[in-house]
Amino acid sequence: MESGSGPEFYFAHFMPYTGIPEDHKKYDSLWVDFPNSLYDPQLGHELYQRYLSELVLADKLGFDGLMVNEHHSTAYGMMPQPGIIAAALIPQTSNARICVMGRLLNFSYPNQLAEELAMLDVLSGGRLEVAFPLGTGMEYYSNNSAVNPATARERFEEGLDVLLRAWTEDGPFSYDGDFYNYRFLNAWPRPMQQPHPKIWFAGAGSPQTMDLVMKYGAGYSCVFIPKEQQDRAYALLRNKAEEQGAPPVSPDRLMFSVFCYVAETDELAEEEGKEHILWYFNNALRASAHYRMPPGYVPPAGLRKMLESSGLKFGTNDSKEMTWDDVKSWRAIAGSPETVANQLGEWLDETGAGRVLCHLHLGDMPHWKTEKNLTLFAEEVIPRLRGRVATTENEAVAR
């Protein structure tokens, strides 16, 4: 991608199922074992229509990308196959990149995933970007137990090798791996973008993920962790590149998340937006501790670090309700366009990143607020930032 260009803004939608009962806290988790009898398909239908219209609006408003992602057995999101939503968006949008971030490699055959994603790239005329996460711990409980969390990372790295070779090497060829064997690896169609669509990895600072970023020259995005930890991860990655003599990690390869609500004034933004952002953090992410951490999912040294920093609280279910101050440290902001733009400007400087994943619909935010938030963000916030931090004046003007 064009390194050195100004910051770009991707609108992220999780498509949450909002019809959960008031007393949902009697269940430990909104994931894995949250009963699907609580799902009403009629409401689901209405929500899909509504959420698709919000993504389409974001394209019209000039967002650079539209992000959809994959989760299973949860009210958190209604996209067990985000490629379907991506395919629905393609004919309704024209400029925004279609960002499937991500697709769970470990729970698909990598050749089929290579084909599916190539389809989306060809369908969209080369607008696809894709992220490959290892998958939350919960996915290892929700999906077929043939995928062992204790060997998840080995399987993931092999699957990635299969997929990228299927995209970039002329087939057919055979593949003999520990997890995947192919007599004929020969993915049809091939992607339109060459050598392949831009790929991203999501991480929390683990060196293994950074090694993959380096190996494939990929983008790197932090999962939801406090901003100081994110910044350390970005710095670590840049240092790694320098140590290894690799090309510098340009801003277009770094992405960070913001949880954001914009209104006419700071007071109004806080009044209208905060509750939905907090709802997301205190409800949508609610999952039983042991589902987050299936055996082998974290390396022992990583677990030790978490336990030491949390005073043994990690892995217990007695998490306290998050306050607005808590979520601010994850880069949440509610304010007027100026307040939000100033804050985002600081965060762009802190991270050195050039891609902002904008969570502008969260939790139970109603449609009118989402439209308002998207519109004010696109019309009042983005223009202030394009000018402010674009590397060259020209590109800022060209926008």
Binding site: S145, A146, P149, A150, T151, G296, P300, L312
Partner: protein, 261 residues
């Protein structure tokens, strides 16, 4: 815990099996060899085995990835432990041995006895895992929350220690052992063809079970007994899955059975 007759502590010994797999073996006593295969956790310890050392040479290997034996990532299923243990037996005690397996260790012991019936003099299977019994299935350890697991594991919860005894080290060690277990049995906690081959086991076999076992139901005992050619079933009233830690009677039942000619 289970006996006051212990005369000799279990002493660890480092060994290398099959060229490069490192394991720790606990040993005590002298006499006929008694090889004990432990279950899926080692945290509560094996004090009970010391009482067997009065009559037997107790040999208690830690499976790779459990206790103080390092993980061997090449081992991917329970069956991979069969050649591992046949080699260890050749190294440590050639000739027929008394074999005792608890839970996962019972699964391993039955596989070893199927593959090399001549190596087993007498066999004890204590609430063994490994069979697929749809009417009384083995509990899936991985989907239980820790507090549910603790409640099911034993009828004597004090064995698991107080919440204050939990440390970062103990949590990490437990997670590592559960990971080692997952490498072997995450996909399924039984062996689809084990039942078919139990008829190969020629040694007299004691199937020992606690009636209050909430991990592997005692009803599975009869399935084992119906397939094992020379078996008897003994149940221990009120005992849970941590059979030997919980019940001195279970420990003594092993000694009595193995002392028979």
């Amino acid at each position: 815990m289970s006996s006051t007759r212990a005369t000799e502590p279990l002493t660890p010994e480092q060994r290398v099996v099959g060229g490069d797999t490192q394991v720790t073996v606990l040993r005590a006593g002298s006499g006929d060899p008694l090889v004990f295969f432990h279950g899926a956790g080692t945290a509560v310890g094996f004090d009970f085995a010391a009482s067997w050392a009065d009559d037997f040479e107790v040999i208690l290997p830690f499976h790779p990835g459990f206790g103080s034996s390092p993980l061997d990532t090449r081992l991917r299923e329970v069956r991979d432990l069969v050649p591992h243990y046949l080699q260890l037996l050749d190294d440590v005690c050639p000739g027929p041995v008394n074999m005792v397996g608890h839970s996962l260790g019972g699964w391993i012991a039955s596989l070893v006895a199927i593959h090399a019936p001549e190596r087993v003099r007498r066999l004890v299977l204590a609430c063994p895992a490994g069979l697929r019994v749809p009417s009384h299935p083995t509990t899936d350890l991985f989907s239980l929350a820790p507090r549910e697991l603790a409640a099911r594991l034993t009828s004597r919860p004090e064995l698991l220690g107080s919440p204050e005894s939990v440390t970062v080290d103990s949590v990490v060690r437990q997670y590592e052992e559960t990971t080692s277990l997952a490498r072997l049995i995450w996909e399924r906690n039984h062996d689809r063809t084990l039942q078919q081959w139990l008829g190969r086991i020629s040694a007299p076999t004691l199937v020992l079970w606690g009636t209050a076992d909430r991990i592997i139901p005692v009803e599975q005992a009869d399935v084992w007994a119906s397939r094992l050619p020379r078996s008897q079933v003994t149940t221990i009233e009120g005992a849970g899955h941590m059979l030997f830690n919980e019940s001195a009677a279970a420990v003594d039942a092993v000694s009595s059975f193995l002392r028979e000619p």
